[in-house]
């Protein structure tokens, strides 16, 4: 079953007509002409769609909260700030089928009554930014965006907001802060953004992949959608396979598919690359857990099993992988991306990075091993936002699995 990748490489992303020919914007038309905002939200709720950014929060519930909060102005933001190493699914949707995201965004904005929507795009995605600019312009020309959309009384304006290279801005409250012209530091929750977000107004921040699912749900109905995947996690998901597999890239599979299948089935990864032996798979980007061969058979769904599927990336490490380099890579990333708001994360990621440098150069000090445990505990338990926990996940697993190998 293909929902997201169905028309990739078949349509021309630079021409709106080729999207419309495949039934594009029919869902928006249906949502505006035949459905009330309450009905749209009801449908998305019934579909069971959950946020694809990693947290897996039910999208319909989020929308409902924003719709029910009384306010003069509301905002809708599409989160395309993907900057996790090893993840490029949102980038690819924007590249291959930008209108699918825009249509989902417009349906969402209609449902909650937002007049202003943003697409928050990673600053490095220059080509995708251009594609989206063109797509928005063409959608405006067809009256899908702007004043009295499709002859209705609804006005929605969509702008692109380009980020400038900050991983933390993928977190919704940090993202909102940076749009407001403040440092991209996360805010204390509650209040949650659907109640008080951008400029203190109800705001929905949805991942681009989440929004790309919405046109299908509106067109084919919640029932059809909820039958795909597994109960509790319906629909399909884009999985990114990288590392020592035969076929690397993006694969669409129903939620509930196991990592085992994704790596070995010829439909997806097609097994290990020749001459490579499986060591572990890291599921969910640089912040993902390390999964050994024996545990690959758990279904990848939200809130199920021992590990989260996160944003859906699977990095396969083989036995020739240089673990010291990999440890450095994780520590280097998080120390660079820690926003500096809270001390445990700012200092913890920095000290971990210092130790990682020593490990890489084979200059480990006696105290390093204990210190790692201390730092990892602090990061997992005391940081303000999840970035600190993320920084500790892969390291904690690696210490359990390879601690002896590294420290002798």
């Amino acid at each position: 079953m293909q929902i997201l990748t169905k028309n990739w490489n078949k349509i021309d992303p630079l021409r709106i007509d080729s999207y419309i020919k495949t039934g594009g914007y029919e869902s928006l038309r249906k949502a505006i002409r035949e459905m009330t905002p309450e009905k749209i939200i009801e449908e998305v709720k019934k579909s069971g769609l959950r946020g694809r950014g990693g947290a897996g929060f039910p999208t319909g519930d989020k929308w409902d909260l924003a719709a029910k909060t009384p306010a003069k102005e509301k905002y809708f933001i599409c989160n395309l700030d993907e900057s996790e190493p090893g993840v490029y699914k949102d980038r690819t949707i924007a590249e291959k089928n930008p209108h699918q995201i825009i249509e989902g965004l417009l349906i969402g904005a209609t449902a909650i009554g937002a007049k202003k929507a943003f697409i928050y795009i990673n600053g490095y995605y220059r080509k995708q930014n251009e594609i989206l600019e063109i797509a928005l312009e063409q959608a405006r020309g067809k009256e899908f965006i702007g004043r009295s959309m499709l002859g209705s009384a609804i006005d929605i304006e969509v702008d692109i907001f380009q980020g400038a290279g900050a991983y933390i801005c993928g977190e919704e409250t940090a993202l909102i802060n940076s749009v407001e012209g403040n440092r991209g530091e996360p805010r204390l929750k509650p209040p949650y953004p659907p109640v008080a977000g951008l400029f203190g107004k109800p705001t929905i921040v949805n991942n681009a992949e989440t929004l790309a699912n919405v046109p299908f749900i509106i067109k084919r109905g919640a029932k059809t959608y909820s039958q795909i995947g597994v109960s509790g996690s319906p629909g399909t998901k884009l999985f990114v396979l990288e590392g020592a597999v035969k076929k690397q890239g993006i694969f669409e599979a129903p939620l509930g598919t196991t990592a085992q299948e994704l790596i070995y089935n010829s439909l997806y990864g097609g097994g290990m690359a020749s001459g490579k032996d499986f060591l572990f798979a890291q599921i969910g980007g640089a912040s993902g857990r390390l999964v050994t061969a024996g545990k690959l058979d758990q279904p990848l769904a939200y809130g199920a099993g021992e590990y989260n599927l996160g944003c859906g990336s699977i990095f396969v490490a083989d036995k020739s992988t240089d673990l010291k380099n990999l440890l450095f890579s994780w520590a280097d990333f998080f120390h660079r991306e820690s926003c500096g708001k809270c001390v445990p994360c700012r200092e913890g990621t920095y000290r971990l990075w210092e130790i990682a440098k020593r490990i890489k150069k084979n200059e480990i000090l006696k105290r390093d091993k204990e210190n790692i445990e201390d730092i990892l505990w602090t990061l997992s338990n005391t940081t303000f936002c999840p970035l600190g926990n993320f920084a500790a996940i892969a390291w904690s697993d690696a210490m359990k699995m390879f601690g002896k190998e590294i420290f002798g």
């Binding site: 400038a164 900050a166 403040n182 991209g184 990288e242 890579s329």
Partner: protein, 146 residues
């Protein structure tokens, strides 16, 4: 174009602040104290807020860059495609160390993720992006771009 001329094209609303900084940097290469002051005036915001905002983002420079800049991705997928060897090759060729600021002319930094994991290893030389870089290509890239 003067900074003033760039700014008047942008509406002074907070959500346009990052856009203004980016536009100004394109022209001026960096956003120093003087530029921050002008932007603060234009947006009617405190100077401290402009500076703290500008200094937050990787892509915005608040100091004049005197060195030639090379950046290489250190993410897992790029690593699995031998980015470490590429980094070592660059270090050897230029006689410097990644992340160390000591070299008078060049600087090699690690970055993570330009979202090009499928085309790694990724190297950026003075804003120009190179994909699928192999150690043996380093020589050519450096000779023609630095």
């Amino acid at each position: 174009m003067s900074l003033q001329k760039i700014l008047v094209q942008i509406e002074p609303k907070p959500e346009n602040l990052l856009r203004a900084l980016k536009a100004a940097q394109k022209e001026n290469k960096y956003i120093g104290e003087k530029e921050c002051e002008k932007i603060a005036d234009y947006f009617s915001l405190p100077l401290a807020r402009i500076y703290s905002f500008a200094s937050f983002f990787n892509e915005i420079r608040t100091k004049k860059e005197t060195k030639k800049n090379i950046r290489i991705c250190s993410g897992g997928p790029c690593l699995s495609k031998d980015s470490a060897k590429v980094a070592r090759q660059i270090e050897m060729l230029l006689g410097l160390e990644a992340g160390n600021d000591a070299h008078p002319k060049y600087k090699l930094e690690y970055i993570s993720c330009l979202g090009l994991c499928d085309r790694g290893p990724v190297v950026e030389v003075e804003g120009q992006i190179f994909e699928r870089v192999k150690p043996e290509m380093v020589d050519d890239i450096i000779q023609s771009y630095l």
